[in-house]
């Protein structure tokens, strides 16, 4: 792999930047792999990367039906934080946060991780009590967090309307200074490039159409382009389409797929240097380095695979944002899109073995998967390498919905669902 550096940039400039290596190969698949990962989004690519890097398993293929990072990885609002309430979830997301902190150096690819802090606003007395509980729980888990009052919030975001004249006045917030945003496409590309350099095959535009299962053990997958590809183990990391793949393997998952949408404005001058989220009025906003305001919305209530959201949901979100930031009322919106998120009943992911031997699923990240990308890949790679769930993954088995050991982050995590 050609290392990116200031010196390399200078060297390539002498030949007009025409001799850069392609970022990854586009190989034809082999007949058999040690591990096949279905789904070439951030989580799947991160899994492939850590399988090769940490566990030395490089005979790996990533099968992607579209192009790398073209699903939810390229459609989210790029927020990264780890202030979850329950121990199991907090440990998992904090594991990801620690990997984020060295990720650009690790991948030799600038993922533009910017720790600009995340505010979760409170608008009611109950919000503030929940914030106190959550921040205290975070601190006990070694995760940074502060409880801010209205004045302190106003100091961080001067142009937000923190007056008492709003319908739901801002009473305070939780503040995680280490949280922030990252460049979502770069995360997918960085993981793909680094995994490719270690010998992982990225097989794009190849859809898995069936699973090959013999005596309750998976032995490979059928694809639309290359026929059967054999594998010792298969890991499915396909977000919104997880239920479809589970049905191919003959079981069901406790998931429902919903469209989650986001929208961006025209680029404007720097105005917002942090991330503001509000669970109560339900919206979240940050400003990208390019200058566009990135605004996130709630999911549509109905199941959908359409990768587009409904207009009533946009209206609700924009109402909430304008209540907080009246100054954005004349900003024009540029683009709007939807991604399909696989939501779990307890708003926590599934990292699990399945009723089929050697078939593993990493899914159910719902509305908040991007922040976990490196952690999810790191943990899932360990599960695939060992053939059993790692310590961090154990609480997230799909069988928790049989034994009742749910991790109820719904509403608890400052999650703006």
């Amino acid at each position: 792999m050609q290392r990116y550096s200031g010196f390399e940039l200078f060297k390539q400039s002498l030949s007009h930047h025409e001799n850069w290596q392609s970022v990854w190969r586009n190989p034809k698949p082999k007949d058999k792999y040690d591990v096949i990962i279905v789904g070439g989004g951030g989580h799947g690519l991160a899994t492939a990367y850590y399988l090769a890097k940490v566990h030395g398993i490089t005979n790996v293929a990533v099968l992607e039906k579209g192009y790398l990072g073209g699903g939810n990885t390229g459609r989210n609002t790029t927020i990264v934080r780890s202030n979850y309430l329950w121990d199991e979830a907090a440990h998992l997301y904090e594991h990801a946060m620690k990997l984020w902190e060295g990720l650009s150096q690790d991948l030799n690819y600038n993922v533009m991780f910017s720790q600009r802090g995340v505010l979760n606003l409170g608008h009611t007395l109950q919000d503030m009590r929940d914030i106190q509980r959550r921040v205290n729980a975070n601190r006990l888990n070694g995760i940074d967090g502060e409880i801010l009052d209205t004045k302190q919030v106003q100091e961080i975001v001067p142009m937000m309307d923190c007056s008492a004249n709003t319908r739901y006045p801002v009473m305070g917030a939780s503040w995680q200074p280490r949280a922030g945003v990252a460049r979502h496409d770069a995360v997918a590309w960085g993981f793909a490039r680094a995994a490719d350099a270690m010998g992982v095959d990225m097989i794009q535009q190849t859809e898995v159409v069936d699973m090959i299962i013999e005596d309750g053990t998976i032995t490979g997958v059928k694809t639309n382009r290359y026929g059967d590809i054999k594998a010792d183990k298969v890991g499915c990391v396909v977000a919104g389409n997880s239920s479809v793949l589970a049905n191919m393997a003959g079981f069901e998952l406790p998931l429902e797929s919903h469209p989650l949408q986001a929208l961006v404005s025209e680029p404007i001058k720097p105005v917002l240097d942090t991330v503001v989220m509000s669970n109560h009025v339900h919206g979240y906003i940050s400003q990208s380095d390019k200058g566009d305001l990135v605004i996130g919305a709630g999911i549509d209530g109905y199941n959908g695979y359409g990768q587009r959201g409904s207009y009533p949901t946009i209206e609700h979100t924009v109402q909430a944002i304008l209540e907080l930031f009246p100054m954005f009322s004349r900003v024009r919106m540029n683009r709007q899109w939807g991604g399909i998120v696989d939501t779990c009943p307890d708003a926590c992911p599934i990292l699990s073995d399945t009723p089929v031997k050697n078939l593993f699923f990493n899914c159910g990240w719902g509305t908040g998967g991007f922040k976990a990308t490196p952690g999810s890949g790191h943990v899932f790679a360990e599960c695939l390498a060992k053939g059993e769930l790692s310590e961090l993954a154990k609480p997230f088995s799909m069988f928790r919905f049989h034994n009742g050991a749910l991790i109820d982050e719904h509403g608890a995590a400052g999650v703006a669902h």
């Binding site: 389409n241 239920s243 479809v244 049905n247 069901e252 998952l253 406790p254 998931l255 429902e256 797929s257 549509d300 209530g301 109905y302 199941n303 959908g304 695979y305 359409g306 409904s310 207009y311 009533p312 696989d342 009943p345 919905f401 049989h402 034994n403 009742g404």
Partner: protein, 95 residues
Amino acid sequence: MLHIFCPHCAEYREEEEFHAKGQAHIPRPLDPEALSDKEWGEYLYFRKNPRGIHHELWVHAAGCRKFFNMTRDTVTYEIHETYKIGEKPTVTAQS
């Protein structure tokens, strides 16, 4: 914006008057005490999540406030039919 025909009001109304309530036709087990943990968990949490024809429960929350069922395509979002609780769908994935 979905335009939804409420079978109780017998007219089309806009999506905002309604709430989706998930998969339809889930009968409550007649003898919950007799179920294994697995069966009870599947009744509570495991849902059909098809890519295509889906039967789902809706409520006309800002209208008559009654529940009804809908057959809808989850990819195109086309609504094939709405029908009252207790009735059977005429459009199914097999037909």
